[in-house]
Symmetry: C2
Subunit: 460 residues, 2 copies
Amino acid sequence: MTDAPHDDPAARRSGPEPEQAVIAALLQGLDAGDRGLVDAALEELHAADLADLIEQLGTDQRRALLAVIPPDTLPEVLTELSESARDQTLALLSPETLAEAVRELDTDDVVYLVEDLDAEDQARVLQGLDPEDRAVVEQSLTYPEYSAGRLMQREVVTAPPFWTVGQLIDWLRAAEELPERFYDVVIVDPAMKPLGKVTLGRVLSARRPVTLESIMDDDPRVVRVDDPQEDVALAFNKYHLVSAPVVDAGGRLVGVITIDDAMEALSEEAEEDILRLAGVGDEELSDGVLDILRRRVPWLTTSAVTASVAASVISLFEDTIEAFVALATLLPIVAAMGGNAGTQSLTVAVRALATRTLTRYNAWRVVRRELMVGVCNGLIFGALIGTLGAVFFGNAMLGPIIAGALIANMFAAALLGILVPMTLDRLGADPAVSSGTFVTTSCDVVGFFAFLFLATAVLL
Amino acid sequence: MTDAPHDDPAARRSGPEPEQAVIAALLQGLDAGDRGLVDAALEELHAADLADLIEQLGTDQRRALLAVIPPDTLPEVLTELSESARDQTLALLSPETLAEAVRELDTDDVVYLVEDLDAEDQARVLQGLDPEDRAVVEQSLTYPEYSAGRLMQREVVTAPPFWTVGQLIDWLRAAEELPERFYDVVIVDPAMKPLGKVTLGRVLSARRPVTLESIMDDDPRVVRVDDPQEDVALAFNKYHLVSAPVVDAGGRLVGVITIDDAMEALSEEAEEDILRLAGVGDEELSDGVLDILRRRVPWLTTSAVTASVAASVISLFEDTIEAFVALATLLPIVAAMGGNAGTQSLTVAVRALATRTLTRYNAWRVVRRELMVGVCNGLIFGALIGTLGAVFFGNAMLGPIIAGALIANMFAAALLGILVPMTLDRLGADPAVSSGTFVTTSCDVVGFFAFLFLATAVLL
C-alpha cells in the first residue's frame, strides 16, 4: 500500500465531479470494447460509484458492466444498490455467481442481498455460506424488515469489564479478523448483557493497567432488536451516537448498529416521507413503467374520487353559475389558494410529527398559531383578490364574495392541515400517506361552498 | 464513574418514550416549584432532550427552564437548539451568561451559537474566549454559511507518516486534551498537507513497531473548506465515511468533519427540500406567526398569480359554459388530476436531482418513462372519468370530451413534471423552490383549454 505514489489529496474532492470523467471513460471503453480503458477506470471507482452507475444504465449496458466488474469488487457493488436496482441486477446474475459473491460479505450485507429473493433462490445462494454464517443470516431474516435487527451487524468487539486496556490491546492485536467498522468496544457480563461501552479514542488515550470498567460509559443507549429503524436513526441523530449495542428481548447482546447504517436509514425515512406526501409511495428512479403505475394510480384514483366530491358541491349551484358565468372563472383560484395553503400547513405538521418535534407540550400552541396564520392569509388574499376580481369583472359585489370564500378557505386549510395529520398520527396511521388529498379536497369543498353560497345569496 | 450502580441498559430504549416520563416530571416540578423533583429530572436528561423541550415550550416556561439548567449543562443544550429556537433563546440570556457558556465549548459549537448575533453582541460574547480560540472562531465565521468550513471542527489529531503505532499511542496517552470525538488520525507532511488517514481500529490492531505510513489509507477523500455542506453530506452517505479531513485552497489541513455532523447536515438538507416543495421555505416549528407569514405569503402570491392565468383560460370559453353549465362542475376534476399527476413526477425528479441519481446517463430513459406513465394515466383516468361523467350527466359526448382533456393533462403533467426541474437544475436554480406552482398551473392551463376547446367544438 505504501509503495503506491501519493495522489495529491486536494485533487480528490467531496463532490461528485471528479468521478464523472472516470465514468465517462468507463462507458466509452465498454462501448469500444477497450478492455485496458475499462480496467483503468474500474480501478479508480469506488463500489458505491459503480452501484450508482448500474442504477442509471439500461439493461444492456448493465449486463456489459456487470461482466467486467472484477469478482472481488462485485459483492460490495451489489450491497450498494438501491432495493429495486438490486432486485433487477440479481436477476441478471447466475445463482453460482451470487453464491460466490455472498461468501465475501458480512452477514448484514448478505441479508440485504437475499431478503427479497424467492425461497428457492434464497436457499441456493445461502448454501454457499459456511453453516455458522448461514444460521446467522437465517436468524436475521426472521426480524421484520426495517427493524434494528435488519440494520445491525452481528460482528461486535466485546470485552469483560475487568480486562485492562493492555489486555484489550493485546487481544485486538492477536485477533484474526475484526469487523470492518468498529468505533466502540462493548463491555459485557458473562451472560452477554451489555454493561457499558468504551470508545476507541478512550482506549488509546488510557494507560495499559487501567481497567475497562473504570473508563467505560456505564449507561449507553441500547437498541432493541425489534425497534423500528426510524426510531433508531432519530436517536443516533439526536444523541450523536456512533454505535449502539443491539439486545434481544432477554437483554442479551446480539449485534451493533453503526452510525453509517443509521445515516442511511435516516435519509431513507426522510425520502419516504417526501415521496409519500406526493403520492408516489416508495418509487425508485430505476423502477419500470408498470411499477410506477402501480404506485401512482391509487393516489390519482383517490384524488379523482375526492375531486368528484368537490365537483358535486359546484353542481348544487348550477343555477347561480348559469346566471353569472364569471363565477366559473374564479373557481380555480379558490381551489388553488386553499390547496396550496393546506399543503403548507400539512407538510410542516407531517414533518414535525415524523421528527418527533410536535408533542403535547407545543401542540396547542402550534394549532393556535396555524389558525392565526390562516386568518391572516385569508384577510391578505381576500382583500387582494377580492379587489382585483371586483375591478376585472366590473362588479363591486364580486369582491366581498371572493374575499369571504378565501377567508373561509384559508381558515379551513390551516385547521385541517394541522388537525388531520395529528389525528392520523394519534390513530397510528402514517400521516404522510393519507393526509394530502383529504386536506386539499376539504379545502376545495369549503371554498367552493362558501364562494357559491355567498354568490347565490348576494347576486341572485 | 464506576461507583454508580449500573442501570439495566435494556430499560434504556432508543425510542423517545422513556424520556417522556422524566420530561413530564420536570415540567411538574417547575410548575410546583419543587426543586428536588426538577434536579432529579435534569440529572436524567441528555442535553439534546432539554434542547428539544425548550423548542416546544412557550416563552414563560422557557425562561423558567433556562433558570434551572446547571451552568455546566447549559452550553451543550444551547448548541443542540435549532436555528430559530437558538436565536429566541439567546435573546433570553444575559451577555455574561452567554460569554460564560461559550468558554466551555469546542470552537465549531461557538461558531454555531454566535453566527447570527449582531456584530456588537458577537464581539461581547467572543471577548470571553482566550485570544487563540477567538481567532479560530473569527476565522470560521468568514466561511460561507452551510459550507464545509462551518461544519468542521478545528481540533484534529494528526501525526507524521514516520511515527510508529507505539509512538502514536504514547503521544495520545500523554496528550492533555483530545477532541471529544475522533475516529481517525490524519497523517500529515511538514506543510500540514494530508497524506493519509488511519482508523483507530487499525491503530489498535497493529503492533507497536509498525509505522503509520504502512497502515494508512493513502488516498482518503478530502473536503475543501468551501465545499457546500450538501455535497459533503452526500459523500459521507455514499462512501460510508466516518470522518474527512478539510483542507484550504492551498491543500493544507484546517479541520475535520465527523459523520455525526454530516448526518445532521444530510437530514437538514432533506428537510429543506420537503419544505421548499410545499412552499414553506425554511420554516421551523418554533417560528412566530409573522415569521411564518413572511415565509408562506410569497408562495401563495405566486399561486394566486398563476391561478389567474388558468382562470383567464376559462374566461375565453364563457359562452360554452353558459350553454353547458355542467362543464363548470367538471373543471375542478380536470385541475385536481393534472395537479396531482404533475406533483408526482415533479417530486420524483426534484429528489433524484438532489441526491444526484438523475444524471445524463439515465435522463433520457427517465423522461421517456415519465411520458409513458403520463399516457397510461391519461388513458386509464380518461376512460374511467369519461364513462362516469357521460353516465352522470346523461350526455354521451361528455365522455370523450373529458377523456381527451385528461389525456392532454396527464401528458403535460408528466412532461413538465420532469423537464421543468431538470431545466431549472441545469440553469443553477433550486428546482425544489420554483417548480411547484409552475408545473401545476401549466397542467391546469393545458387541461382547461383542452376540455373547453373540445367541448366548444363538439357541443356547440
